[in-house]
Amino acid sequence: MSNPFAGWVWNGGTIAFFLISLVVVFAAVMLLQFRKVMYMALSIGLVFLGMAGLYILLNADFLAFAQILIYAGAITILMLFAVMLTRHDEVEDPPLRDPKKWLTALGCLALGAAMLWTIRNTPWSSPPAQPPWPVQKNVAAIAETLFTGYAVPFELVSVLLTVALVGAVILARKEG
């Protein structure tokens, strides 16, 4: 673990990854640091957008597209709705000297350290230069796999979405 950047090549991809990572981690930390709930919701939007960038770096164009649509778009907006429907001036209480908080932080750090250590000590094969699918035909490749090999899960997911829709309506409906 002497040099964390051993084997690291500075080029366009890695610089982009570095920058986006910084943004994402910054936004994630800010998510926890902001007081106003509204800002928090906006900062997670930023995280989602950064994620989409990372997907593009990974040659997952369709995934990035879906990420922007579903997460950065729908879910963030939904969260904002929820914030405004409850108390949109909601302010998170100032942090207390809560031992539980420290314990949680310790646990998270330990977990993260374990994961990072494992990642570090796992011999990864060097990444292939080209993705295992035609770069320009990512959507077509996904569609083909999805509708041939994964047709049944796909249908099941559509059922799940329907159930979630109905369930959400019933749960959120005013009683009486």
């Binding site: 084997g7 690291w8 080029n11 991809g13 890695t14 990854f17 994402v24 981690v25 998510l31 926890l32 709930v37 928090m40 919701a41 997670i44 995280v47 994620m51 990372l54 997907y55 770096l57 990974l58 997952a60 369709f62 995934l63 879906a66 579903i70 997460y71 879910i75 939904l78 929820a82 429907l85 409850t86 909601e90 998170e92 209480d93 949680t104 932080a105 998270c108 977990l111 993260g112 994961m115 990072l116 990642i119 990864w124 060097s126 990444p127 292939p128 295992p132 990512n138 490749a141 996904i142 796999t145 999805l146 994964y150 997911v157 979405l161 979630a164 369930g167 959400a168 749960l171 959120a172």
Partner: protein, 102 residues
């Protein structure tokens, strides 16, 4: 191209941040947001392995898509529960939601 370990490390960091948020934040909306963050971190792993895992392939992205769909459903139901709770208890503080006691 950044090596796979970098993506995984980023995902691990995001996951831990999300975990910390989910376990410490008082506002239930933020808890939900933190959970979404954790889900995203997992998704990033899927995408990274799809591109340059031990057995790279398009299936990883498909998994990611499914995971997103499930996350969307989860958010919809979660928010509906949140609204119902807020209507009943007039609060979004998770500490008020202790019906699991005894």
């Amino acid at each position: 191209m950044a090596p796979v370990g970098s993506f995984l490390a980023l995902a691990a960091v995001l996951f831990c941040i999300g975990l910390y948020g989910a376990l410490t934040k008082r506002n239930i909306i933020i808890v939900l947001l933190s959970v979404e963050l954790m889900l995203n971190a997992a998704n990033l792993n899927l995408a990274a392995f799809a591109r340059m895992g031990i057995a790279p392939g398009i299936a990883g992205q498909i998994f990611g898509l499914f995971s997103m769909t499930v996350a969307a459903a989860e958010v919809a139901v979660g928010l509906a529960i949140l609204i119902a709770l807020y209507r009943n208890r007039n609060s979004t503080d998770v500490r008020d939601m202790d019906l699991m006691k005894w």
